[in-house]
């Protein structure tokens, strides 16, 4: 039995300790906002918070979450009104949307620790979150808007790719 908290609610899960957190979230708890991308910690689509740190839930055994707190995109804000979520809507960041939950969860961890990130900070922290639609410039702009920063790039960068 694995006892943990997910989005502020306590659970006792009778699952294999090696089950990836993602499987427990989606198949056991029905929290399907977190996506399966690559299954190898290469794309970031499955990113959630374990306590305050990001983890790739597709590869992190549920046993690592024992006695700890998991936060998913559903739990980031009770009303879906997190500054990042608002900025994402304001700037129409998503295209297909598949990677965006992971993008937002990583960005939320970044802003919690670094409320005024530079472009380089954003790029380094989000380097493991791939977007097949190439919305990277809008993602960066939305992170900066959520942080209350000017949205223009602070240095020359390669644009959407």
């Amino acid at each position: 039995m694995i006892s943990l908290t997910v989005n502020g609610k306590a659970y006792d899960l009778d699952v294999d300790p090696e089950m990836p957190i993602l499987w427990a979230l989606r198949d056991v708890l029905g929290l399907t906002g977190t996506k399966y991308g690559c299954g190898q910690a290469l794309c970031g689509a499955c990113t959630v918070h374990l306590d305050k740190e990001t983890v790739r839930s597709c590869c992190t055994p549920i046993s690592r979450a024992k006695g700890r707190s998991v936060t998913t995109i559903e739990g980031l804000s009770p009303t879906g009104n997190h500054p990042l979520q608002k900025a994402w809507c304001d700037l129409a960041v998503p295209q297909c949307g598949f990677c965006q939950a992971g993008q937002i969860m990583t960005a939320a961890a970044l802003l919690a620790q670094n409320p005024k990130p530079t472009d380089a900070d954003i790029d380094r922290s989000l380097a493991g979150n791939l977007c097949r639609c190439g919305t990277y410039t809008r993602i960066r702009a939305a992170v900066k808007r959520a942080a209350g920063l000017p949205e223009e790039p602070t240095r020359s960068t390669s644009e959407e790719g």
């Binding site: 399966y36 991308g37 690559c38 299954g39 190898q40 910690a41 290469l42 794309c43 970031g44 689509a45 990113t47 740190e53 990001t54 983890v55 790739r56 597709c58 590869c59 992190t60 055994p61 690592r64 598949f98 990583t106 960005a107 961890a109 970044l110 620790q113 670094n114 900070d121 380094r124 922290s125 989000l126 380097a127 493991g128 791939l130 977007c131 097949r132 190439g134």
Partner: protein, 220 residues
């Protein structure tokens, strides 16, 4: 099937070597994981006794270190002793994918910590390697672009070796769990030469004979 397509597209977008779709989308039993290199193919280390023929203790000490440096230069070890801010993977000329950076504590930056992906053990299904305290060696312990002589001097320099005594250097090589991962790297990765026990014995003998360094230009 949908997951297979997604994984393939994501990998292609990143210009990375795509993971094999079948293994990505359909977890396989552990018994089907890629086999480790056969023991017969695994390069060995010379034993401490094999250096007894070198009469001069200084030369013997340097030769012991040179043999041990075969481990240091192995990809399982040198890949995480980079001279810059990012490790390599598989082979020293292949950058870590995804593109991670060391951060202020050699354990990554927020959102891209080593433990964002790496666990305290290897994951055979996803092939992600892992061991306790997974992290990069500090820049002062860089081995990339260094010679055996330079690494030897580095290891003896408490300003660059984490303040370790020679006895602690031996202990680190002989028993540290992250060092030990080099011989148990999981999923088809080639282990470092010999065993951790043999490396520990070589390093202990190196210290016992004076911790002499190879001459510049000498290679294992």
């Amino acid at each position: 099937m949908r997951a297979v397509v997604i994984a393939s597209v994501l990998a292609a977008c990143a210009s990375r070597t795509p993971p094999q779709p079948a293994a990505t989308a359909a977890p396989q039993p552990a018994a089907t994981a890629a086999p480790q290199p056969a023991a017969a193919d695994h390069p060995s280390l010379k034993t401490v006794a094999s250096f007894d023929a070198i009469a001069d203790p200084h030369a013997r000490s340097a030769a012991l270190f040179l043999e041990a440096s075969r481990v240091f230069f192995h990809p399982r070890c040198i890949n995480c002793h980079p001279a810059g801010d990012s490790p390599a993977q598989i082979t020293p000329d292949r950058p870590h994918d995804p593109p991670v950076t060391r951060g202020v504590d050699d354990r990554g930056v927020v959102g891209m910590r080593c433990t964002t992906c790496h666990q305290d053990h290897n994951l055979e299904l996803s092939r992600v390697p892992g061991a306790p305290e997974w992290h990069l060696a500090p820049k002062t312990m860089a081995w990339v672009n260094h010679t055996p002589q330079q690494i030897c001097e580095q290891m003896k320099d408490t300003k660059r070796n984490g303040g370790r005594t020679l006895a602690q250097i031996v202990e680190h090589n002989a028993h540290d769990q992250l060092v030990g991962w080099g011989w148990h790297p999981g999923h088809g990765r080639e282990p470092a030469p010999g065993t951790q026990e043999q490396l520990g014995a070589l390093m202990a003998a190196w210290v016992k004979t004076g911790a002499e360094c190879p001459r510049e230009g000498e290679r294992p």
